[in-house]
């Protein structure tokens, strides 16, 4: 583990973070002014800006941050580089929770849906961690494989439920991670994930230590079970809320933390701002591409993310292979 960078590079790093932040800010501003509706065309443009563009861009920033940080926490907790909400079944559990709420109580307010989705995500993640504890693994690469199969089981059940209640089509539009329908009044709950990210900043060191295992954590005076529960809970809330408002955002939590720690080493708390910035940058770029590629129609961000993310992830894997 590289905890501290060599001192000669420290100055460079001190400048790097504000520079990167400025770059991401530029992307965010760009996102505010890209779209099918010409803001300067008529007097309505200014109002449109605050109804559609601003909420959409804020949602991009919040969701990008949340999913990237969720990936980082899960990787710390399981000490495995290949886990994130979509490779552990967490997102699928959140989707199941959401569908069940809508079926049982069609009129339930957004808050109830979010709570149920988050609880389902929490249960699902605990099941995954429980399975990991029960079986002994020959290779760390098996962990995401189990998680993906687990997610497939859950989504088979969700599909079954949806088909038998005639809501399959609804399911498809819901979980297609897309910011198209984000307008004022529909994204505000995403601010919850800002609180989650803040808590992660406070808890980063403890989560890192908890990931080293029960024995080490206890011997340095940490309540291992509590930190595990809090970490999983934070991930579950972030995933649940993002799934309800936006849908699935695949690979974000996988690619960003891995790229950051390849470049900067494994100091979780120092990497956190970078992970946030990286997540925001990737989501914003993918969303802008999705808006521009086929104007005036839009390609959902999750599809662009799926293509780009899988390409980056495979490159990472093959580089790892080349180095042995």
């Amino acid at each position: 583990m590289i905890v501290t960078a060599p001192s000669s590079r420290k100055l460079g790093h001190r400048v790097a973070l504000p520079a990167a932040a400025a770059g991401v800010a530029a992307l965010v501003v760009l996102s505010l002014f890209v779209g099918a509706y010409d803001l300067t065309a008529d007097a309505f443009g200014g109002e449109m800006f605050f109804i559609s563009r601003v909420p959409r861009t804020l949602a991009l920033v919040l969701a990008g941050c949340a999913m990237a940080v969720s990936g980082l926490i899960m990787q710390l907790l399981t000490q495995n580089r290949f886990v994130e909400p979509s490779t552990t079944g967490t997102s699928e559990w959140a989707a199941l929770g959401l569908l069940v709420t809508v079926l049982l109580a069609p009129g339930a307010p957004l808050l109830v849906r979010m709570v149920v989705a988050s609880v389902a995500a929490f249960v699902g993640t605990m099941i995954f961690i429980g399975i990991l504890r029960r079986i002994s693994l020959r290779s760390s690469l098996v962990v995401p494989l189990i998680g993906i199969m687990l997610g497939a089981v859950v989504s088979a059940f969700t599909t079954y439920l949806a088909v038998s209640t005639n809501s399959l089509q609804m399911l498809g539009t819901w979980f297609m991670g897309s910011f198209t329908s984000i307008v004022r009044g529909r994204y505000e709950v995403l601010w919850v994930v800002a609180i989650v990210v803040l808590l992660v900043f406070l808890y980063a060191d403890r989560i890192t230590v908890a990931g080293l295992g029960r024995d080490i954590a206890t011997s340095v005076g940490l309540d291992h079970t509590r930190v595990m529960l809090i970490g999983t809970g934070l991930v579950a809330v972030a995933t649940g809320v993002t799934t309800v408002v936006v849908g699935f955002l695949p690979f974000l939590g996988l690619v960003v933390p891995n790229l950051v720690s390849m470049w900067r080493g494994d100091n979780a708390r120092a990497n956190l701002p970078w992970v946030c910035l990286g997540g925001v940058a990737i989501v914003v770029v993918c969303d802008i591409v999705g808006r521009v590629i086929r104007m005036p129609f839009e390609v959902p961000v999750s599809m662009i993310l799926g293509v780009v993310g899988s390409a980056v992830f495979i490159t990472l894997l093959l580089r790892m292979r080349a180095r042995g």
């Binding site: 399975i131 497939a152 088979a156 695949p250 993310l305 293509v307 495979i314 292979r321």
Partner: protein, 336 residues
């Protein structure tokens, strides 16, 4: 090679009748279910013209089911043996996503006329050649070299599957609605409404693959012993594994064309076959898995269609049962 693997004579003599009996029971179930699907509740007197018309229509369903069961069962067993695991299934590796992305790319770059221009034999040949070529390149490359690692190959396969899925959805979004209609009608059939024209060609491809697999059954037994043992016994390990994966790709492409993607059906059938076949040799496991697959699909189809009147739900229910089965298996198994 066969001599190396066969058991001592007395044990074999004891086991053989049991295996034969199990095969017999399973074959009976398959025949009964097939006859049931064909003749149950047919309008008209048995033997009359109307009767035979109805039966002829149902033959297509039965043949499709038999073919799909064959594809899924053999593909999953091959995949399990080649990758030395019994947890993953071919579809999680993105074999069906590979098929979908190839079909979508065809329409995307050449228009929907390209799809109808390549019908019949030409389509089957082109499609099989493309699948074989692409799978050989991909898995050969991933698995090549000193550092070729099975787990990395699996994970890359899974991620590729997701990537291919996204890529084909992006391309499908960019198609004109009429092109998309043609494409989606081509991509996914379902069990009760499959493409009768494609059936003979699909059967031909599957027959060729099955002959190759059957001739390789003893080599598969060696492969199942793991990398070190098979290299020791003089098997070209890497070439065999890539070859088997290519065959899996072809089988899955046929199955996906006929009924769309299935994730857990193959897992269900293969796992039950390992438990029930009474032998680990591929010459027993492979036919047993095929029979088991046919019995499950035909039986399920019969019950759903004639008892619950919900034939369209079959693949979803099988997926769900298979998924639950998978979870139970995973929790009971100690290591991976």
């Amino acid at each position: 090679m066969a001599e190396v693997l066969t058991r001592p004579a007395p044990a074999r003599a004891l086991r053989r009748p049991r295996i034969v009996a199990r095969f017999g029971i399973l074959a009976l179930i398959v025949v009964a279910a097939a006859v049931g699907v064909l003749t149950w509740n047919v309008p008209g007197e048995p033997g009359s013209r109307a009767f035979w018309l109805a039966v002829n229509l149902r033959v297509v369903s039965v043949a499709t089911i038999a073919l799909v069961a064959c594809c899924q069962a053999v593909a999953t067993v091959l995949f399990h043996t080649a990758t030395a695991n019994r947890i993953l299934t071919p579809s999680i590796m993105g074999f069906d996503a590979l098929y979908v992305v190839m079909q979508t790319a065809l329409v995307f770059f050449f228009g929907s006329s390209a799809l109808s221009a390549t019908d019949g034999l030409l389509k089957v040949v082109v499609q099989s050649v493309l699948m074989v070529g692409f799978a050989t390149l991909l898995y050969g490359w991933l698995f090549a070299g000193r550092r070729g690692n099975l787990h990395i190959m699996l994970l890359v396969g899974v991620v590729l599957g997701v990537g291919f899925g996204s890529l084909s959805t992006v391309m499908q979004r960019l198609l004109t609605p009429s092109d998309f209609d043609v494409l989606s009608a081509r991509l996914f059939g379902n069990l009760s409404n499959s493409d009768a024209e494609y059936l003979p060609w699909g059967a031909l491809v599957v027959a060729v693959v099955l002959v190759i697999v059957w001739r390789a059954r003893h080599r598969l037994d060696v492969l199942a012993l793991g990398r070190e043992a098979s290299v020791n016994l003089g098997l070209a390990y890497r070439r065999e594994v890539v070859g088997m994966l290519v065959l899996v790709a072809v089988l899955i492409s046929v199955s996906t064309t006929m009924v769309g993607p299935m994730t857990f059906f193959g897992f269900l059938v293969a796992t039950l076959a390992y438990q029930l076949a009474g032998s680990a040799q591929h010459r027993v496991v492979l036919p047993f898995a095929v029979l088991l697959g046919m019995a499950t699909l035909l039986g399920g189809y019969f019950v759903l269609r004639h008892v619950f009147y919900a034939a369209g739900m079959l693949s979803i229910i099988i997926e769900f049962v298979g998924g639950v089965f998978f979870l139970v298996y995973l929790l009971r198994k100690g290591s991976l």
